[in-house]
Symmetry: D2
Subunit: 223 residues, 4 copies
């Protein structure tokens, strides 16, 4: 009798168009200073939240920023337990790489390519072991010139290739921000300026940059 009743109730609910209460997706954005600024008033995470609201899906997503300025891939690995796993996310977006390349030149403390790969794999494994969905991003830019004459373009392309390869090997969805930024600049930076198009300083996002990133994240996260 009890069983019959339950089945019946479910059938009625379904026929009436109800859905069972769904668990919110908790997305943690894990990265460096760009992600740290992402939770600001005009930051990309805030913009993404607004886009989700416009879609009427605000109840389905919880967005949490976990960015710290100056972070490289091994810094993320070190604080993954405290700053990500402790928050019980269902999804994590990793966006890292600018400092691993940049600090070679500015501080002598960048990350070797082979170790970048090793720590990135270890970080993904740590998250995937908890059944977390992991999406990874290429570093967008250190300079916005479109003729590959930004000082660090070569190395940044090299590390972006590594990340694209890591995505394939680990079955992670790739958000190819470097590709998106270059395409946007090719269309909108005819004077070959080094910044001011999507960034304030070649690295950190201005309003258009925050919007572009939010749009790319939207495509990947909200389907």
């Amino acid at each position: 009798m009890k069983k019959m009743n339950l089945k019946l109730t479910l059938l009625i609910l379904i026929s009436l168009g109800f859905t069972l209460p769904q668990q919110k997706q908790h997305i943690v954005f894990f990265g460096d200073s760009i992600t740290q600024a992402g939770v600001g008033a005009s930051g990309y995470i805030t913009v993404l939240g607004n886009l989700i609201k416009e879609k009427g899906k605000v109840d389905q997503y919880q967005l949490t920023g976990a960015g710290i300025g100056g972070n490289k891939v091994y810094d993320l690995y070190l604080r993954a337990d405290d700053d990500v796993l402790a928050k019980n996310p269902s999804t994590v977006v990793i966006w890292v790489g600018v400092n691993d390349v940049w600090h070679k030149r500015t501080h002598g403390t960048g990350t070797d390519a082979d170790k970048f790969e090793k720590f990135y794999h270890a970080l993904i494994r740590k998250l995937q072991a908890k059944n977390i969905k992991v999406l990874i991003c290429t570093p967008a830019a250190i300079g916005e010139k479109t003729d590959y004459s930004n000082e660090l373009d070569g190395d940044l392309n090299k590390y972006s290739n590594i990340i694209r390869d890591i995505a394939k090997k680990n079955n992670c969805e790739l958000i190819d921000l470097r590709k998106a930024f270059l395409a946007y600049n090719l269309a909108n930076n005819p004077e070959n300026k080094k910044d001011g198009i999507l960034t304030t300083d070649g690295v950190h996002l201005n309003d258009k940059g925050n919007r572009l990133v939010a749009d790319e994240m939207m495509k990947a996260l909200v389907k």
Copy 2:
């Protein structure tokens, strides 16, 4: 009656010079290329093993090398589970720092001082959480000149000071190899040579260097 018997047995055993079977101390040496070479025929771990044998204490100590060339402090952190904890050591000797300084100059991929400290603390905590006794060493040398004119002396001294401070804060015994190497060179390197006294190339140990390190380790480990 039973108690009496036990006491008696113990007294007899003691009077006969017997000791109760003791558990072997398992010491893992955790480091970079210098430690990787330490298990070689004339390496410092091998020499230390011989010194222990001469003392007739071979049954009390098991020595295991866990050195990998090019390793910096964060590399040790990444492989601590697999290469150290999995071996169930009672004691770990950490000797790292040369590459964290050196690679700034040669590869642009050294370690920032604040992150060096952060990873070193995290590594010690990881080991101490398993009740492992941790001893830590200062980096011996990048160049053997005694007038502080080896190119990286300043930074190496800075990182050595950080390690000395870490030892205090974490109640780790310090094996101050940098101090020992400088003292030896002041006495034995009157021509202010850059290598050839305790090292082959300013960094990696020759026979005298391996012996000096083994002697310093002996003092700290076998009492």
Copy 3:
């Protein structure tokens, strides 16, 4: 009478196909290790000499190598008097820039972009003040990958742009080896290899590289 005779003599000479003895062009190639190797058995200067021979113009050109390994633009400036002006050239081909970029990464001793430009200008002025014809080259490659993912591609493109600009400002003919190398690789390096197409190691020329450089020099120098 005398005049008539001279005219007549000239007319006869011309009709016989003689030309008046012409002064040889003395070309000095001024650069780094690539140019130092250029005078070797298969080096680009030797190959260029052979091309000139094939054209039957061997009497018109004298080729002299003045390359020293590791040289940057300021090293050329320092030795311009002794190694170039003292040889009384009519033409100088300057080919420099690889080390100015490369040594930033490998030794911390590259050349700032603004100082690269300043020394390059000063060097050209020094030569042009002696009525020497100056041709300048872009640095060909540090790595032969064609997707701009060679580590130093960005900076090398930046310095190549500076050189192209210097050529314009100083009325020097430009030999755009970087452009020629990239075009060749796009056509002949489908696997995106880092070396082995025109270079042995990404920088120094193999036989095909020496031939390509000689061809480009031929176009610019022998008309």
Copy 4:
């Protein structure tokens, strides 16, 4: 008669304490940002001028600053004609070296030790060829800690040793500012501070630093 009169006149002049009009020594201070600041209100050149005034020797010395921020030894070589020789000095004080070491770390554009030496020799020869008296200084400090744990102490000591050797080889008087700064700090920096004793930032001089440098220069220049 004429001769007699002249002799007589001279004797009278001498007995009255007059001296014959002497040619002023024109001293040019050739260096980097420290020397650029040296002509400021409290700069070391200004302080030196005041010390000379106090000695009543203001008519005997003309002091000219020729410092430009960021200059390394090869920058001095490039502008020696325009900025020094064109001013017809009788004496030149060269003080350079901080940037040659420092920029290795901060910009990847320091100066190789062998090239530092080569340009320094060439610069001295250029000046001595005009019968100019040349005095040279060691770089004072990049950080004021007294235990050789300033990051660049090793390399700065190395370049100071090179300069001491250059002084000997070229018969230049040495003003050993590095030695003077260390001695002062050993006496007056008991807390091992990194700056604030003789410098504002470890490199650029505060009032006490300007005074110390002026005192050292006084000893060498005004005898």
